[in-house]
């Protein structure tokens, strides 16, 4: 693996920058969810211009406030991503990290294009759903980059802390499964939110995802609790899962049950649905983190023995 041959140096400014990008992206996800929850997706009918202009800011009232505000934050995040890619390319010794930086740039361009398509095509559910899914993927990757740029990641040698992890459904696979389960929920949830799917898949999915996430985080705590990052991610996933389930019920009640005939998006509907999207994004990011930490810190018993021999030699 290239990471063990190339030594990266911890760079506090770069680390802080990745963190700022992650925070801005989280705010952007909230801003995007506000667009959807306020039914404001088409308040600005054109793209890439807004009311015919690339730079003039329209009056920020009503739905335009949400839609154009979201575009402006997205442009800012796009700019930060360009800086990230260039900075990583110039300063990070890890070639996979440099590739990840460029991949992030590609992803943000795809995401911006999908955003434009939602406007151009007047919100077909599959484009809106793709936009919601790429958004959370991008956010999760900003979080992972923050992890990869952290002192702890850079300055611990993974081969020395590794523990054995065996079996067909080993912990690494289980951790990957949590990512998959949350993606499934993201797809079903967004498909429902944008009017393309029924609610039932998301509800059944919630039961399955809950099982997988509880199983994985308990395994993480009970078997690998000594590995700090795994313990941390497991606890976060459990906490976020409980909040997410409660928010899901609240979103269902306010938007679907009580809000069925609402004349306009009510504050309670907006708050619960936006929070459900935002916590969903945090949950996905933490499942990614769990998987990454599992792969970094655990290895099949056989591979581990070979690894350690290599270190000793």
């Amino acid at each position: 693996m290239s990471s063990s041959t190339q030594t990266a140096q911890y760079n506090p400014a770069y680390h802080r920058f990745t963190l700022i990008l992650a925070i801005c992206t989280f705010l952007l996800i909230i801003a995007g969810a506000l667009v959807t929850s306020n039914d404001a997706g088409l308040a600005v009918p054109d793209w890439p211009t807004s009311f015919g202009s690339l730079y003039r800011i329209p009056p920020m009232v009503g739905g335009i406030k949400y839609e154009h505000g979201h575009r402006m934050i997205a442009e800012f995040v796009g700019l930060l991503t360009i800086i990230l890619a260039v900075w990583t390319q110039r300063k990070d010794a890890r070639s996979w990290m440099r590739k990840l930086g460029w991949f992030m740039l590609l992803l943000v361009i795809i995401q911006g294009t999908l955003g434009g398509l939602t406007v151009k095509m007047r919100l077909p559910w599959y484009i809106s759903t793709a936009h919601a899914m790429v958004a959370q993927t991008f956010f999760s990757l900003t979080i992972l980059m923050t992890v990869f740029a952290s002192r702890r990641w850079i300055e611990t040698t993974r081969t020395l802390t590794r523990q054995p992890d065996s079996g067909s459904l080993n912990f690494r696979n289980l951790a990957l499964l949590t990512v998959l389960a949350v993606y499934m929920q993201l797809f079903f949830g967004a498909g429902f939110r944008h009017g393309g799917l029924h609610f039932l898949p998301h509800l059944i999915g919630a039961c399955i995802a809950t099982l997988i996430l509880v199983w994985a985080s308990f395994t993480g705590l009970l078997r690998f609790g000594a590995i700090k990052p795994i313990r941390g991610a497991s606890i976060a996933i459990l906490g976020l899962l409980v909040i997410q389930l409660l928010l899901g019920v609240a979103a269902y009640m306010t938007r679907v049950v009580w809000g069925k005939d609402a004349v306009q998006p009510r504050p309670s509907m907006v708050a619960t649905t936006v929070a459900h999207v935002a916590v969903g994004a945090l949950l996905l990011a933490h499942c990614f983190m769990l998987a990454v930490q599992a792969y970094r810190n655990l290895a099949p018993a056989a591979g581990l023995a070979a690894d350690q021999k290599a270190v000793v030699a």
Binding site: L42, G62, T113, D261, P265
Partner: protein, 252 residues
């Protein structure tokens, strides 16, 4: 690589959807006859509502100050407008039974935006007839038509901006139209192949005139409660009444 391919696929998709030819305007199959104006009949009636109607919900328009300039009366949702048991905003039309006639295209009909509400809330027009959309507000609006049979569109209109003109090429019922800048602004457009339609007024009344004699299926459509139909036969120069009744049990 996969992502690039995915992107390409999406671009192709819009490429294709953009190239879709607009639906051809509706045309009767056989050569059409003209209606003899000396023989036409009139159907009129009242739409009533039985039971307790849902209470109109007051709309909060504070998110755009331009909607509340001067003294504006409170704005209420218009899904159920019931006046002394009479139901407004029901679209009534001849659903079936018309022979093969040709009709001149009527002059444009108007949809206005006033006080951040649509006037009227429900309207009918003919295939090919122009819909002129006006903005009498100091607010910026967008008008988003969510048609299924016809092609949808979304356009913005500045305060006092030029009228927007749209036409519909296929018959379609209750096409939702919404403003995404003021998401409470919703109205419905109904498109028919003939001019025999009406929308019930504040007293629940409607009148359809100029009908050739015949036996018809008359339908009354409400945006939330759906459709009710009645069979009706009118002779030459006849005036007939046909009333419809909706009730709280029709609310889905």
């Amino acid at each position: 690589m996969k992502l690039a391919l995915g992107l390409l696929l999406i671009l192709l998709t819009i490429g294709c959807s953009k190239n879709e030819t607009p639906p051809a305007s509706y045309k009767p199959q056989a050569p059409a006859a003209k209606i003899d104006p000396a023989t036409t009949a009139t159907i009129s009636g009242v739409i009533s509502f039985d039971g307790a109607a849902p209470k109109p919900q007051q709309i909060d328009m504070s998110q755009d100050p331009a909607c509340v300039v001067g003294k504006v009366p409170p704005n209420f949702g218009e899904a159920y407008v019931v006046n002394g048991g009479h139901l407004q905003n029901v679209y009534v039309y001849i659903k079936d039974g018309l022979g093969n006639y040709s009709y001149p295209t009527p002059p444009p009909t108007t949809l206005d935006q006033k006080g951040c509400r649509y006037v009227p809330h429900v309207l009918g027009l003919m295939v090919g007839q122009k819909l002129r959309i006006l903005n009498s507000d100091p607010a910026m609006h967008n008008i988003h038509s969510m048609a299924h049979e016809n092609s949808g569109w979304n356009e913005s209109q500045y305060p006092g901006g030029d009228a927007i003109e749209q036409t519909f090429s296929k018959p379609e019922l209750m096409i939702p139209v919404q403003c995404n800048n003021h998401p409470w602004m919703k109205m419905y457009v109904n498109v028919s192949t003939h001019p025999f339609f009406a929308v019930s007024d504040a007293d629940g009344k409607f009148t359809i005139s100029g009908l050739p004699p015949g036996t018809y299926t008359l339908a009354a459509v409400h945006e939330k409660m759906g459709e009710k139909t009645a069979q009706i036969t009118v002779g030459a120069k006849y005036s007939k009444t046909a009333d419809f009744k909706f009730s709280s049990s029709d609310i889905k």
